[in-house]
């Protein structure tokens, strides 16, 4: 008699373990929403107005860096790419993109650093440094309003699949996968904050909590700390694959860089 509730309890746990993974379903195309739509009108207004959006401070810095000669070759980005509003239009909407030399996808930040090393003979900029964020924001700003088209290159398919695997993979002390919140519970709240769908439409973006611009990798690492997992290092292949999967998942949504988020 005494063992009956224990068995029933064990049976319930087993049922729960079976049921939970089945909940992980993709968000239908028609229901995909940018994090923008979850924000208050005040924060939306801040993003919409270029003179109120603090992300524009980095875009301005990035524009200066774009025209600034650097490296052993004393060349500026503008010397090869000329007017960014033409040459960089739509570029960020296709990132992360496949690099034939490295035979793997690279993020926009990594592309800027590769360009510095290969074509300017300049040292790579540190992840999350003001200069790298500024250049990335300036380049991505040229794609604002254009639909995200990342992941279309067939060479990227195995990396998108790996990113998807990571997105579904449970980890950390809380044993959550990204999907458990951002596919299954995006219409709910965690404490006072909207969970959102994890559509990376506006990176690098100004987060009020950070009081700074930050990359998608910073956001992913913060999420991993939140589920008490060991975050991957900046530039780790896992973070690039996750970014690639997320950008593929957000296909069709407009680029908002530099976005503002709470």
């Amino acid at each position: 008699m005494r063992s009956f509730p224990a068995i029933a309890g064990a049976a319930l746990l087993v049922t729960a373990a079976i049921v939970v993974p089945l909940l992980a379903t993709e968000i239908p195309q028609g229901q995909r929403r940018s994090g923008y739509s979850f924000m208050t009108p005040d924060t939306q207004a801040m993003q919409n107005d270029d003179t109120a959006n603090p992300g524009m401070l980095w875009v301005l810095d990035g524009e200066a860096l774009w025209n600034n000669n650097t490296g052993a070759l004393n060349k500026a980005c503008a010397d090869c790419h000329h007017d960014a509003s033409a040459s960089m239009r739509g570029v960020a909407a296709h990132y992360p993109a496949f690099d034939p030399t490295l035979e793997r996808p690279v993020t926009l930040e990594q592309r800027i650093n590769l360009c510095r090393v290969r074509h300017q003979q300049a040292p790579p900029l540190a992840y999350e440094s003001r200069d790298l964020l500024a250049l990335t924001a300036f380049v991505a700003r040229q794609s604002r309003g254009l639909a995200i088209e990342a992941g279309a290159d067939p060479q990227l398919a195995p990396f998108v699949a790996k990113g998807h695997e990571l997105f579904m993979h449970r980890q950390g002390q809380l044993n959550f996968g990204c999907t458990n919140c951002h596919d299954d519970n995006w219409d709910k709240h965690l404490a006072g904050s909207a969970i959102t769908q994890a559509q990376p439409t506006g990176y690098p973006l100004y987060r009020l909590e950070w009081q700074s611009l930050g990359s998608l990798e910073r956001r992913l690492r913060a999420c991993m700390t939140g589920i008490r997992a060991q975050p991957y290092d900046y530039g780790a292949p896992e973070l690039v694959e996750l970014e690639l999967y997320l950008m593929t998942r957000a296909r069709g949504l407009p680029v908002e860089t530099p976005a503002v988020r709470p």
């Binding site: 003179t51 109120a52 603090p54 524009m56 401070l57 301005l60 009020l208 009081q211």
Partner: protein
């Protein structure tokens, strides 16, 4: 690399109430935070902001550690005459920045 974003209407009718928006790049370090090793991070904030309209001070604000990074200050004034707005930010560690914007009043 400090920079400012200023939004002043380029044109206005005499007597119109106009909104002026300013955004200044600054970390606004409070002086209350510590590093991972326990050392205090010294205060580094903007302490004063002023706006002059054709040389006459029309707005002043004192800033304190509780103000967020990249202070966004907006205020209203009456468009009296064509001319120039001068903005000045002064802060810790000898921080000074200025910017200006012109307005045409009909």
């Amino acid at each position: 690399m400090a920079s400012a974003l200023i939004n002043v209407p380029a044109k206005a009718k005499r007597g119109d109430i106009i909104e002026i928006k300013t955004l200044m790049s600054h970390i606004m370090e409070t002086g209350y935070r510590r590093t991972a090793t326990g050392e205090l991070i010294p205060r580094d904030i903007i302490t004063s902001f002023t706006c002059r309209y054709n040389g006459v001070e029309i707005f002043r604000a004192d800033l304190f550690p509780a103000i967020a990074a990249n202070p966004f200050i907006t205020f209203f004034t009456v468009a009296a005459e064509s001319g120039k707005f001068d903005f000045d930010w002064i802060g810790d560690n000898g921080f000074t920045e200025s910017a200006s914007a012109s307005i045409a009043v009909e």
